[in-house]
Symmetry: C2
Subunit: 247 residues, 2 copies
DNA sequence: CGGTCATTTGAAATCGTTCAAAAGGAGTGG
DNA sequence: CCACTCCTTTTGAACGATTTCAAATGACCG
């Protein structure tokens, strides 16, 4: 099901029935499942196919020689992995499943054909790629400037809002597949400190995580605590998505 | 002069005379100069033109409400700023000159026309964009996992190698326009600590910086100290650039 | 000459790490 | 069903990398 992807793209522009159909056909390609902890790519691989996440969660990560690990991006349902990575001969990072994962494997040329279905769809897929880059920049800002408390608040705030953008929230709750160790690898902290910081965030009434479910208790205060500026997610273009009849 | 850009792209693929000519024409568009500290874009701007850096150095940066600043990317001569940013209605970060700067301002459609001059050039410009993303991921890894010492070693190593890729080195020296404060904003450290760490790196015989010039004393040891894995720069495709007669 | 910016140094404070250990849950094989 | 292992969460105490605060110096510029 490409519904999550469609939902996400429609934050940017309303899609026509033909465009949605093209995306749905994409999602029917070579559907595979992976267990948690399995890798979709490893650093050094020659990427040949790209993937659309249908169900479950995954991450990009890099390893240093001595085993230190940094998670450099998260994939939610509806996210596309490495749409154009095949231009680089070798992967410079790995992609791993965080939970059991269902993905569609898509050949590059099939994707490019679909991307060319309509100018509007082309643009929407571009928008999607550019938002991913914007998120990287925001993560850089978090790692460089935010305190542990702000950093974790920021990550979870982003996660909640990205989940909401693909209709995966239930009021103020959503899945949160990251263990404290993975949270630590995402934020450049240690698991011990993540544990203590999560407790502080809970004590302050901002959110709790239980059994891989995030409950946001006060989104406004959470955003404030994280110095969260929603613009970088480029969700609603002022006045909402473009109309279907737009050029 | 588009020579730096051409040089850089030829790390990936050899370009034909017509392709080079197209790039050179790009670089003649609306050439402007800026002083150090002037901004090319501010967060919130609607990007309309993209830029090619002809001479001088610039950076992308983000500010938090309370004034903390993170530099999230560097531009050297030959770098393209925000080739496709116009798809996003608003800039989510700012771009500022680090030194006096000469740039060519390029309209989006002009750029896209040139990019379509040949499949090889299209691919080369894609390669360029993907390398920039790869660098972001490596910076994330630095900020999250590397110590102050490793982080600064890594940044300068990268800077040296990127300079070399556009023929801006002289043996083991190159310009290094960042002040210690800017180095601090790039690495998520304080200027005080950058100062002390630079001294340590000098004392260890890795490199020195004097009057905005970097002298690398021992590149191998510098790369080791930084845990520098050159693959992420995607410089030489195995066996060197593709041949001009390739598809 | 005064002002701004960059560099440098010292001393104290702190945030986050490291080390160590315990406890709970989930899955596996006997 | 128990024993076992692995993973995750949790807590305490000590340590240390980096920050903060403060101040001095030098270079450049109008």
């Amino acid at each position: 099901m490409a519904e999550h992807l469609i939902r996400k793209l429609e934050n940017y522009v309303s899609l026509g029935a033909d465009e949605k159909a093209a995306l749905r056909r994409l999602a029917e390609r070579a559907v595979t499942t992976l267990d948690a902890r399995q890798d979709l790519y490893l650093e050094g691989d020659q990427p040949e196919r790209m993937h659309l996440v249908l169900e479950g969660y995954a991450c990009r990560y890099k390893l240093l020689e001595d085993g230190r690990r940094q998670i450099v991006g998260l994939f939610l349902p509806g996210d596309l992995c490495d749409a154009r990575m095949f231009i680089l001969r070798r992967m410079d990072h790995s992609v791993g499943a965080l939970t059991p994962l269902r993905v569609a494997q898509i050949d590059q040329h099939v994707f490019l054909d679909v991307a060319d279905t309509s100018p509007r769809l082309t643009r929407a897929l571009w928008w999607n790629a550019l938002v991913e880059e914007s998120i990287s920049r925001e993560w850089l800002t978090s790692l460089g400037q935010r305190s542990a408390y702000e950093r974790i608040a920021h990550l979870l705030c982003e996660f909640f809002l990205r989940s909401r953008a693909v209709a995966l929230v239930n009021g103020y709750s959503c899945q949160m597949p990251l263990t404290q160790l993975q949270l630590a690898d995402s934020t450049g902290l240690t698991a011990v400190h993540v544990n203590r910081t999560l407790k502080a965030l809970d004590a302050d009434g901002l959110f709790t995580i239980n059994d891989r479910v995030l409950h946001v208790h006060d989104l406004d205060r959470l955003m404030n605590a994280a110095m969260f500026n929603i613009n970088y997610l480029h969700l609603s273009q002022e006045g909402g998505p473009l109309d279907t009849n737009d050029p």
